[in-house]
Each structure stands twice: as structure tokens, then as C-alpha cells.
Amino acid sequence: MSVVTFPKSPVQTEMTPVFEVSCTVKRNDPVNGEYRQLVLYAPQSILDCAPGQFFHLLCPITEQLQPFLRRPMSIYGFYPEKGELHFLYKVTGEGTSALATLTAGQSLNVLGPLGHGFDILPDWQNLLLVARGVGLATLAPLALQAHRLGRNLTAICSARSEDMLMSLDYFRDLGAEIIPITDDNGSSDMANLRHIIEAKIADTGIDAMYTCGSNRILKLLQTLGEIHNIPGQIALEQQMACGIGMCQCCVRAFRRDGKTVNERVCREGPVFDLQEAIGW
């Protein structure tokens, strides 16, 4: 492959502390029909996070819902200044349904921050982020970080319909250029998405691309990355038990140096090099 693969940032050192703490819920409100935003009061110690990292949540046990394992959840926002940790989640099964029952004042045990987050190398000025659905949760702190570092960010936000588009204001307030696309009006199809990105490359240029969640978007960005020699990163998901690297249940296969290697999503990931990722 001719494309530059993404230079790996130094591996998280063995001893980077990870915390298991109980946080108090500040609020847990619906964002739209399927998504909720959970805001926790968190101690400073756990707010030394990087965008793309996640926490492993011990969901509450209720009369109806008895999730067993923890549930991994990307950091949607971390605010050391106000002592808050935010998650944006989709209610899918037992664990997230249990999360949805939490109300202000209740406590939630969280484990983290975990994993290897997104990198923004010093010479990357123009960043592109392509997010769909709950992927926004994962990519949002990247926008904040880009803003803090003074980089230009274009966020292409994809959803089924106009009203499922979340966080547009969040991105806008951070000075990002927003390009909403939806299935409803056909703007989210791959041909149009490619068109939009290639126009952007031709216009200001793109130094790095970030995405997560969608197989088709991954394929498209890999192609574009290869053609235009643009590095990128993707956040991936996998079932997790321990979340910290002990159990080896969360592996995914990656292409590296012509070989297939297994890496732990919780430990080497969840953010991986865009070109090394294998579609699913």
C-alpha cells in the first residue's frame, strides 16, 4: 500500500492509572426518541481523558433489568473545569435500558478512562469528521479538542432523518463547519458523500479524517485516504467483558504489514488506524 498509515502515538504506558469510582447523576435526559444524554458529577482524577477514550459502566440493577457485565460507552464530553462527564447513548438492550432508568442523585459506578483515543498531530490543520448516529457521541470530544487546539474542523453528520441529527449545535458552537446529510433526502448516499469530501479536499484540503461505526463510510474513507494520501482513524466497537485488556474477548482483526493481526479494542483501541481496519 502506498498510503501512509497513521503514525501510532506512544502506547499507553502500563501504569497510566485507571479508576473505578461511583459518580452521582446530574441528569439523564432523552435527546430524541432513541438517544439519551447522561451527565455525571465526576472527580477530577477521572477527567484527565482523551477524545475517543471510553468508560466501562456498571449499569444499575432494577426489578426488570439485570445486566451483568459492564457496558462500554464513549466519552461524549469531559469537563474538568466543571467536574462533569457526559455520555450520549442509544437505548438498545438490557444494559442501556437500565442506564435509562437513572435519575438525578442516583449513583453510577464507572471504570476509566480506558483505551487509546484519537490523535491530532501537530501539523494537521484541516480535520474531517464523518459521523453517523451514535457515532457522534464518540466523535464529539474530538471536535472539542480540535477547537481547543485551534484546528479547522468539518463535521459531516449523517442520520436517517432531519430530526435524528444530533449535536449539530454542539459542533457549531465549537466553530466547526457542519454538513448535515440524511437518508430521507438522499443526501447521505455514498456517492454524494464522496462528492462532498472530494470537493472539500479540492477546496481547503484535508489533513486527517476520523470516523466510526459505519462499514460503508469506512470503505469510502479508506479509498479516499488511499487515493489522496490522507491519514485517518476509526473508532471501533466489540463486545467487552473486562474493558482493560485482561480477558481478550474484544479482539478484532487488522491488516498490518501484509498480515492479519488481532488487537484488543479495549486496549490497543478503540481508535485504530483507518487503513488497518477491516470492514465487517
Binding site: 451483568f68 473486562c242 474493558g243 485482561m246
Partner: protein
Amino acid sequence: MVDLTTQIGSLTLKNPIMPASGTFSEELAQLFDLECLGAHVTKTITREKRSGNPTPRVCEVRGSMLNSIGIPSKGLDAFKANVIPFYERYSAPLIVSISAGSADEFASLCEDISVPGVAAIEVNISCPNIEEDGKAFAMRPSTTYAVMQKLRQATDLPLWAKLTPNTGETTEVAKAAEEAGADALVVSNTLLAMAIDIHTRRPKLGNLMGGLSGPAFKPIALRMAYQCAKSVNIPVIGCGGISTVEDVIEYLIAGAVAVQIGTATFLEPKIMVRMIDGLDAYLKSQGFQTVGQLVGSVEDEEASDGLVFMEAAP
């Protein structure tokens, strides 16, 4: 002051709490000082590199979990180069878990892993092997005896035999391991189980079936630990579903001299630290001077051998 030390053959552990193989690794040092543990037990390794089973490798069932991780392994050389040196910083003994497809390969791996820095070898004789129709060695007393004897000849280090709950001959297998020279028994590995996603109709594990661990498994493993403690003279290390300090105490009362903690660490990574403190507090509150006074203190005087060694539910 309560004396928490426990003796496993020639090894003295500063306390009876240690992790179970496959549920522990260097990364846990990010959460607490691993020095506090009674011992360190590593994930089973094989000599060759292996990639393990297809995903999904875990799923949850009511109040517990199944796993079919398999034995992904970076191989013997990588293990010696990276893992053993990591644990050298600790005084807690390092127990290395190994497995192999045949008795001879097993013995040769056992020999090659008997290196400085390794305090004992836990032999995982409870996963399927290539001889004997793929049955695990620990399914039968005869195969247990055969492999343990070869292992015994291969090393001078203490050998801990890890049993399987899938056998119908728990006590016979335990005795076979003892006779063949095991220094301790670890009771036990996971129990074969299955779950199907009713929406997709696919098995929830990529490998079709997997091992049950966690709270649901506790009464079964506790029964086995009790039966083994009654039938052999070597120490029994209890393992299965231990999630609270009360569970630790229950295993010790049943006759285990130490315990291994697996699944519980996934839910509460610092649970072992809390168990050590909790055990200390409990012993104090009960007026015990040593943990040994608790071991095997189950009030079962009246129980006949027929009951103790029964193999089906009454």
C-alpha cells in the same frame, strides 16, 4: 493481628486471594498495586502462537457470563521475554498456566517454562485436547493420571492441576491428579454451556458453546471444591463464582486453602483488594488468629461418605 498466610505445598502465600487464569493481566496494575495479592496467575499459554476463537467471545446470561475466548497465545518465547520480567518487580509468587494438545507437548512446555521467576505451574488440563477424541485430560481419571505423571517428570516446580466441572468423576479425577504427583488442585475451570439469540437464532458465542463462570456457577464449583478437599490430601484452591468476601469465606469453610477470583474482577476490578481487607476484618471479628482455623471448618460431622461423594442430585 490476624495471620492471613496460607500454605500451598512448599509455597507460602501472604494471603489466600489470587486471580484466576484468563481474568488477570499486567494491565490490572493500572488499578491497584498487584503486590497485595496472594499470588499472580497468568492466562494459559501454549508453546506456539494461537489466535483463539472467533468473536463474539463472551455473552451474558442471567446473572453470569459465558466465554469462548479459547487460548489465544503469543507463544512461549514472547511470554518469557515480556511477561515473566514484568512480574519480577513483585514478591508475590508468579504462577504460570500452561496447556498443550498432547501429553508429550504438555510435558515439554512444562519443562521449558520452569525458569527463574516462575514459582509454580498451573496446568490447565481442562480444555479440549487433540488426543482422546478431543476430551479434556481432566474429564477422566486415567487421562488425568497419564498427563500429570509426564508433567511431574518434567519439572521440579510445584504443579497445580486445574480441574473441569464437566466430568462426572470429580473425586476420581482429583485422586488421580494427586497420585500422579500434583501439589495442589484448582477447582475449577468453567462449565460448558450455551446461549442462543432468539432474534437472530444464532448462538450468542462465535464458537457455539462456551464456559459458564460467575455467580451462577458458584454452588457447583463450591460443591466440587468441598468434594475434592474431602478426597485428597493436597491443598485445594477454590475457584468459581466468587464475587464477595462472603463467598471467599464459604470456600474456605468448605475446605479450600486459597481461592481464585475470575469473573468478579471484570465487574469490580479492585474486588480482590476488598476481599483481602474483608477477610481480615471477618477473621478479627470472629476471634480467629489465622486463616487456617477457618479452612475446612464446615459443620458436616454427620455426613456419610455416601453423601459427600455423591455424583447426582438427590
